[in-house]
């Protein structure tokens, strides 16, 4: 069934179709309309779930951890400062190997207080051990929620689905909602081997000496490695039901491109349009959208860029003191494997609009430039 909805509501319906059993959320700013809609869905009896209103985002994730440990499918959503407050418990969820799926609306960190798009909030959670997806359309948000439960519950790692504030969260798109009977076929109920159970008491997460801690990290790393294949496999299963496929990276006209853009989120969609226009002008460009940043799809990236001679990364984030985070990661992936030069561009920080013309300008600049640059802060007013 096709419906017009804002990106926030695509996340809510994604959770509803996944039949989440526990939703824990802090209801006030920086919360979004995601949980407001979910509370209506639960109140209207369209989803059989327990909705827990908590006093902070830290508590929201804690409640999800408790719920997930008992074997329930748990969900939460937040944004920016709220995600930062969750930080401690994100590590906990990952190391406790709880397959919680959560949504984060990528908003610029305060101060100055902002409700506009910027990826620094979720990229600050990069090393928590969660899988991390950047959705680039409302359809992607809804579908990713369903697929993520399937993957998370197999590898026992939580997933963080992020998407750009405003451009996605508050604009309407047509979203195809798969019938719940199809989703049920794809996503079976969650039934973990290890769970809190009064009939079979166990302790979870207690003191772990140096004799075993390292091995838990080893197992987590293996789970991330397994997730790469599983995201593809479950993506294909999902495609059979819906005709839509989601990979870790999506390459657009990269095969014969001289210059490849590396992008994420909504900038990736704008870049596809720019690629078409640049191609009309005879410029051989392509776009590689990074959809999943953890597990990092290194092999997919190497394969996609292998024929190009230049790469331009566009980052809507900055690790102050160094440079754009996607650019850092990409250069790390290429090192020892390839000598394709990389230009790093910052654009769209704090929600500033990134237009097709901006991307065409980046293309011109990179084509002309002889020497790669770590970071070019596009459009900053000095």
């Amino acid at each position: 069934m096709k419906k017009t909805m804002i990106g926030n509501h695509a996340a809510s319906w994604g959770a509803q179709l996944s039949r989440v059993q526990v939703i824990a959320a802090y209801p006030i700013t920086p919360q979004t309309l995601i949980v407001e809609k979910l509370s209506e869905i639960v109140a209207d009896g369209e989803l059989d779930a327990k909705f827990i209103k908590v006093e902070s985002e830290h508590s929201a994730m804690s409640a999800c951890i408790g719920a997930s440990a008992t074997g329930a499918r748990a969900y939460t959503a937040t944004s920016a400062q709220g995600l930062a407050l969750m930080h401690e418990m994100l590590h906990w969820a990952a190391l406790a190997r709880l397959p919680i799926v959560m949504t984060n609306v990528n908003r610029a960190m305060a101060p100055g207080w902002s409700i506009w798009a910027d990826q620094n909030d979720s990229l600050s959670q990069r090393d928590t051990g969660m899988m991390h997806i950047f959705a680039s359309s409302s359809q992607d948000i809804l579908d990713s929620t369903i697929i993520s439960y399937k993957v998370s519950e197999q590898v026992l790692l939580p997933t963080l689905i992020s998407f750009d504030a405003f451009f996605l969260s508050h604009t309407m798109e047509v979203v195809d909602m798969p019938p719940i009977t199809d989703v049920d076929k794809f996503l079976p109920p969650y039934n973990p081997e290890y769970k809190l159970d009064v009939n079979n008491p166990r302790s979870f997460g207690a003191l772990t000496s140096e004799e075993h801690y390292y091995e838990f990290r080893y197992k987590m790393q293996n789970a991330m490695d397994d997730a790469v294949g599983l995201i593809k496999k479950e993506g294909r299963e999902f495609e059979k039901l819906t005709g839509r496929y989601y990979d870790l990276v999506h390459s657009y006209k990269c095969e014969d491109a001289d210059l490849i853009f590396v992008t994420s989120g909504t900038i990736a969609e704008t870049t596809n349009v720019a690629v078409d226009e640049l191609r009309k002008d005879g410029k051989k460009v392509g776009n590689l959208k990074i959809r999943v940043i953890r597990p990092y799809p290194k092999q997919d990236i190497l394969k996609a860029v292998k024929n190009c001679s230049k790469i331009a990364v566009i980052d809507r984030n900055i690790s102050c003191g160094y440079h754009g985070i996607f650019a850092q990661e990409l250069k790390g992936a290429l090192y020892n494997e390839s000598d394709i030069p990389v230009w790093g561009y910052l654009a769209g920080i704090g929600g500033r609009d990134v237009k097709v013309d901006d991307i065409k300008e980046i293309a011109d600049e990179t084509f002309k430039s002889k020497k790669p640059v770590d970071m070019i802060m596009k459009g900053v007013k000095i």
Binding site: L95, Y194, R202, G205, A206, L207, H212, E215, K219
Partner: protein
Amino acid sequence: MLIKFRTDKKGVKISGAKDMPPMPASLGLMNWNKTSSWRNLKPIIDYEKCIDCFICWKFCPEPAIKIVDERPVIDYDFCKGCMLCAEECPKDAIATEVEGK
């Protein structure tokens, strides 16, 4: 306990990733998870001086002092060497030894 142990080629008891659950589950049973490796100082009760007042038993934060046959007995698998017992003993009946000497 969810962690299994096996014996390696040299006959040493080990447990590795494949013997463990994915998450730290049921590791918290302290009778298995021996915590004495971090002890630097070792308390030793002199039973000649000891008057069985059990102040040490009360103060030991672990608790690693047990009462066995009406006498205080230190469980060295869990004693972390904080020496609170020696500090509190009214009879100075607990001596301090340096570990690993």
